[in-house]
């Protein structure tokens, strides 16, 4: 088992190495194609004179000649950047010269909070719907569940968010505040925008909405697993052993459908990270998704590379955890 984990981690390191290089290459391409981001340093409302520009370029390592030739992978700046990251200095941003590590400290917790609520909603809702649909296979309920989950997936998540913010959030907040007062949990939870003073409360609703991303996939996975288990021989044996239906469902059926849930969460994790970009945009949450989006627009190389590498590490970490959970849940799976 240990050897497997080491092998997986080595593979992960290799993947991350490639990801880092790919991101660096894309940012180099961006500088080569879109021109020099150094002007951002001056707030960009007037072209700084060439000399100051050259000074700032050296500060950010943009003065290497490779940035003039389109397509040149700029290996030396890549090595410098790696050395810089290895020593723990994640570089600073062009606009406002802020330290990237400090920014991550602000952004990562916000996105994590969003994900916690999203994952809970996704697993809970799909578990209930999946089991319910499997229980009433082929009946009217089965079709409505399938229909609604597909509908939930067909509506882009940012449209659900926008309609929530524009139509529902404001009257709901006012109504809630009328009853429970502004400072109360209810007064804050429906707010249309994220508020740094209530980091947990104002992120519940966006989390739940992001949780609906991938609901159809998850419900289908669970329904299929439940169907397979419900019709399986060991459930028939369990019945023959005179166990109560509830115990059969919990001990035998749900336990066996944990595997697809883990696969689902592992698969949807990267999918949800995409959802975060829009959710954080609409709800004004200063999170990873939004930060990376703006950094890409502003050619903030350090922010983009570190941001995406962090999300890459998280995704890789999640996939290794998923594999280990497989082994934990299913004794038949053994890794050497």
């Amino acid at each position: 088992m240990g050897r497997y984990v080491i092998r997986r981690l080595l593979q992960a390191l290799l993947t991350l190495g490639i990801v880092l290089f790919l991101l660096h290459y894309l940012m180099a391409l961006s500088v080569q194609i879109r021109g020099n981001p150094a002007t951002l340093f001056f707030g960009g409302e007037r072209t700084p004179d060439a000399a100051m520009l050259a000074q700032v370029e050296r500060l950010y390592g943009l003065d290497n000649k490779c940035y003039e030739r389109v397509g040149d992978p700029c290996l030396t700046p890549f090595v410098d950047r790696l050395q810089q990251y290895v020593t723990g200095d994640l570089g600073t941003t062009l606009n406002g010269n802020r330290d990237v590590a400090q920014l991550l400290g602000i952004y990562i917790p916000n996105t994590l909070r969003l994900f916690i609520f999203a994952t809970i909603t996704l697993v809970a809702v799909s578990m209930v719907l999946g089991t319910w649909a499997a229980r009433h296979r082929g009946s009217f309920i089965d079709h409505t569940v399938r229909g609604t989950t597909i509908l939930a997936d067909s509506v882009p998540v940012f449209l659900i968010l926008l309609s929530y913010v524009y139509i529902v959030a404001v009257p709901l907040t006012r109504w809630a505040r009328g009853i429970w007062g502004t400072e109360s949990f209810m007064g804050q939870v429906f707010r249309p925008n994220y508020n740094p003073d209530y980091p947990w409360t104002t992120i519940i609703i966006p989390g739940i909405i992001v949780g609906t991303v991938g609901l159809a996939t998850m419900t289908r996975l669970i329904r299929a697993a439940q169907l397979e288990n419900l019709g399986s021989d060991f459930v028939r044996t369990a019945k023959a052993k005179g166990l109560k239906p509830l115990r059969i469902t919990v001990v035998h059926v749900i336990r066996n459908s944990m595997i697809p849930i883990i696969t689902g969460v592992g698969f949807l994790f990267a999918f949800m990270l995409s959802g975060a970009v829009l959710t954080e945009g609409v709800m004004g949450i200063p999170g990873m998704g939004r930060m990376i989006f703006e950094a890409v627009q502003r050619q903030e190389a350090n922010l983009v590379i570190v941001g995406l590498s962090v999300s890459a590490v998280v995704v890789v970490f999640v996939s290794v955890i998923v594999d280990l959970l497989y082994a934990a849940f299913d004794p038949r799976i053994r890794y050497e």
Binding site: R34, I150, D153, S154, A270, V277, L278, G281, V296, V315
Partner: protein, 306 residues
Amino acid sequence: MSELTAPTPTAERQATLWSDAFHAMRKRPDVIIATVVLLFVFAMAAFPGLFTDKNPTTCIGRDAKQRPDTWFTGEHPLGTDAFGCDFAATLVHGTRPTITLALSVIIASALIGLVLGIYAGYYGGWIDGIISRGLDVFIVIPMLMGAMLILSLFRGRVSSDNLFETIAAPALALTLFGWMEFCRYTRAATLESKNLDYVVAARCLGASDRRIMFKHILPNAIVPVTAIVPTTIGGIIVTEAALAVLGIGVQPPATSWGVLLSKGTEWAGGGYVYLFAWPLALLILTVFAFATFGDALRDALDPKLR
């Protein structure tokens, strides 16, 4: 002696699989409705002229955002959009870029996925290693963020009315981050069918690798891939809309459903809900149709559930 053509039981077994699937699908009412919707949308994309004779680019600012007094009739059947162009025309002409984008992305990513998947599954060893690492790299970067990175290289694109230019950049970005799903399924199917007896038999009879791959293994690999094609198309259309809202997808004044939606969201709050409702309805209807079709196809093709 030319190599014997190994018995290809797969051929007619394959045929029955597809014909069975077709029969199973045809009988389901929801699939019929979904197919009708899809045909309607494809027709709108292919022949916009059938649906509206107005030119979406003739826009008069003065009569912008006018609701029609009677819906579906009169000079502007669906009223005018935020720039004063005929809303029905923009809606119809917006369909072609979206559908062409979706189809081109699905075909490109399916092809890449299939070829790489088969090579990885069949040869194994270091080829599989490289392709799997490639898979990991692209899976690890979330699709939307990857698309953003690629599309940020194309900023400042001149908006043009030529179809290819408007959708080239988003299509490339979505393909680059869309093939992994196909590759994974194909690779799994190839690994599974590689050691089946008839494939081993074909190899014993001296069939070349390429022949085995594309004559024997491909029909098996096609099954799981086809099962996820419709739902993936739905996903691409939704992602295109997301890109448009972020302002990095299809660039206005070229239209697509995503652009219409992002413009619609701006004016939805101000009481012009119809600017937002029509493109949303069209998008949801199409994606829903694709998803239902995909679900039915998956059930029909999945031997266990049949």
